[in-house]
Symmetry: C2
Subunit: 555 residues, 2 copies
Amino acid sequence: MAKERLIYLPLGGAGEIGMNMYVYGYGHPGKERLIVVDAGVSFPDMDNTPGVKLIMADFDWLIERDTQVEAIFLTHGHLDHVGAIPFLAEYFDVPMYARPFSIKVAEARLLEHGVIGDNLQTINDPSKYIEAGPFSVRFLPISHSIPESSALVIDTPEGRIIHTGDFKIDQLPIIGDPFDPDAVEEESEVEVIALVCDSTNVLEDRNGRSESSISENILELITRCKGLVVATTFASHIARVYQFAKIAEQCQRSVLLLGNAIERMVGYAVETNVIPDLPNVVSLAQAKNIPRHKLLVLATGSQGEPRAATAQLARGTLFKGIQLKKGDTVIYSSKTIPGNEKLVGKIKNKFAALGVDIIDEPSNDYHVSGHPPQGDLEEIHQVINPNLIIPMHGEYRHLSTHAEVAQTNGFKSVIAPNGTMVNILTGSIIAEESFNPERIYLDGHFLIGSQNRVVLNRLKMARNGCVKVSLLLKGNVFRKNGLKIQALGLTDMGMKDLRKSIHKDIAQLVKTFHRRINSDDTEIVGKIEKITLRLTRSIFDKNPLIMVEIFQLDE
Amino acid sequence: MAKERLIYLPLGGAGEIGMNMYVYGYGHPGKERLIVVDAGVSFPDMDNTPGVKLIMADFDWLIERDTQVEAIFLTHGHLDHVGAIPFLAEYFDVPMYARPFSIKVAEARLLEHGVIGDNLQTINDPSKYIEAGPFSVRFLPISHSIPESSALVIDTPEGRIIHTGDFKIDQLPIIGDPFDPDAVEEESEVEVIALVCDSTNVLEDRNGRSESSISENILELITRCKGLVVATTFASHIARVYQFAKIAEQCQRSVLLLGNAIERMVGYAVETNVIPDLPNVVSLAQAKNIPRHKLLVLATGSQGEPRAATAQLARGTLFKGIQLKKGDTVIYSSKTIPGNEKLVGKIKNKFAALGVDIIDEPSNDYHVSGHPPQGDLEEIHQVINPNLIIPMHGEYRHLSTHAEVAQTNGFKSVIAPNGTMVNILTGSIIAEESFNPERIYLDGHFLIGSQNRVVLNRLKMARNGCVKVSLLLKGNVFRKNGLKIQALGLTDMGMKDLRKSIHKDIAQLVKTFHRRINSDDTEIVGKIEKITLRLTRSIFDKNPLIMVEIFQLDE
């Protein structure tokens, strides 16, 4: 039997920003005991995944090895790290470890999808090691844009791995765990055989900034504001929310939370003692009696989500008792995630039409990233000084740039996009066991593979519509009114012409067909499809999907 | 009869970036003689307009007044200013004036859409005034990111209007007309009653930069490159293309043009004497024999267009004899237009996977905007010193910020989004003649209104698919195999269940229907639609479009 080996296999997150899922394994080849780090989702768009609810990594590889899986570890509560938990929970009866705030988020996800989560295990003491087969794992608190983020210290029979999760180097993060270089250095006194490290912000070449670096800007800005102030940010960014609330207190403004997500997240933060409480918060009813220059609204919807509080406020009508007008200010304390620019722009135009002042991101004065730019990555590389650096979480370009940075500084590094199995000790790719993973879509009630034609058909109908042709035949003869044609997504202007042409060509086809036509006759269905497609192309310049139905009266 | 008046009416471009179309009129109310400035398109996206080819302003208002239209003026050759010419040419038999380079672009558009363009009139001498009813118009050369851009000096019986078109203040634009403050000042010696002015870049607060300001950066960059260099930019940006070609010459690199659009645009520029010739250009055949470090490829596709040269090169396979590899460099000499981020990102990831160095925009070292930032707008306001400033071309936020800038500096200004009729002399909005215009889509061969349900249906199918239900009845009784159900865009996993449930509910419905069911019975069709929708929701959690067809054998 071949020697034991230590492997790393990203299933999601290494090739995109989102849907993180990483596997570590130790044991005889093919018989490794496995742990999974993170189980995230990413979100659909109209260009590629219209109608899809959630996208996640394809975990078939894990399902095929379900008896080898020891545990799942969740580094933090962002949905791109915990959102797929309900779907994994149905396949793997193993403990799922997370710190209290992340547990709250995971529990809510399970509830939402009607899945029982009795495998969730709360890590109250992050210094404690958890045994998971041949692995011994501890949570190492690290700063990020959500409370209780953690790197993982993964001790294996071959040595120590540090998996950073998402993080930033922030020694003054307002709330939550500051980045502790001593703690990280201490963990690195043992030889670290691999650092698996966040890559999302590697293209940024300026230095990382602390969450607290924007406090003064925000204070100065709000002090200047004469009317109502609305600040919109990520609901789970409790440090930012807390920061705004504290500043509001300084400015003698009460705080109103607007949006379910932000209320929920603040609730989790209080329940788990991440913050003692949010100062100065008032209810909707109270807010109505507060003059607008004495109020700060913290609203969800910084990414242009059409139903979120920010979008509602942009309508200019009364929303939960709040109505914006000239002289008010909206602060975008957030970055627009690529792909959301148009949605966000639409909302900003609406605010402009109301005469509301818009303070947005290009200046970067009111938002800092939660991820390490290049300089901070180099710092963490130096502090940990691993034998191997595996760039994790990012598009290909982030991974490759991160690897280049590492190599330039003399570290060994390997680019391992989703589906690439790495032998951690040698730092080499195990090509014959690597593969090109697809994704899984949650589409309505069903999970479907991304290669399934369901979504491809929808995309085609989005561009070209569809045409339905129904025939009623007796033998090879049309019945009276025996051809009906309907279309969706094509203009009526061409339909009369289309119906007439199809009728003529199909009547001709049916008449000359040299055998009895059955309802399920694939040959004639194929021919009718071809005729319909050709004529729709010629009349409309469209390539619709075609549905053909034949009723045959001969019996 | 009411007094004559001078009006301004934007139909497109004032509320979005793209599809510019502005109307000026003079005469008795309702009987004004009209001129049209620009006839542009904008481009579809999957979020709102899947399958649409082009979007343009709704020019119904003009069609209803076609005998009042005197002429169409085209400020420059960008498609958001001339792209709709073939569609206007079919309705208005009036002269269409443009300078030679823009004429080339307009002619190509007409040819492409099979429209005869015998009304195109070339303006060889921009100092010449053109009489158009009560208007006397001249082209005032101004710098922008395409050759031969012009502002329009529009003399009316009430005084002079200056319509800037798109422009920037650039005294060293590499090729084409530099911004000439003396010429602009000279035109402004007469009282200018209104300045109608480009707003697209008003949110940018840094000063405008000259096209020539990036020459040294590009030279230095290309000098450093060891392998093949690909630069991608807008095909019509002849100054940029020329600049790259000149720098290539300095670096002893030959130039290969890759992409139809860039070849065509360079051809127009040479034909119209905008440039004498592009130095150093080689053919595909010649390029094959040139070592890669001696070649600069100028490629289309900076916006991520999936079929353009840049996307083809990113595949890493041989494209027209060129194949990129590690050590080569791709320069994005362009801005990513909002909405294109994901497409552009995809291509950059592919380049990264090839090991190609990507030099892109965030640094702004290799691209300058063709539009005036706030400081330059203030300068042009001062130079022209008009009685009224009407912000033109931009989203609402651009228009309103531009108006604010003007007002802050003591100018009168009015925000006039699409459909807003302005009395130019009073600077007031004529509310009762203003309206909320829709857009027109070119969808395949047909022009359809944006309120038409065709595209809405396609969007719905993109998210939810469609279900087709066909019945064969004799009286109120199903025939054998008399119910057929097909779906598109729904997973097979639920279809068996759906077919069974629909069959059961419709059989029940048909049986208890209290009168004879005809093929075109809208009541039963409505009921079947409801049943189908309810069951698809419950089984799939989807809201598809439903098509119902009934064949009735009773006769």
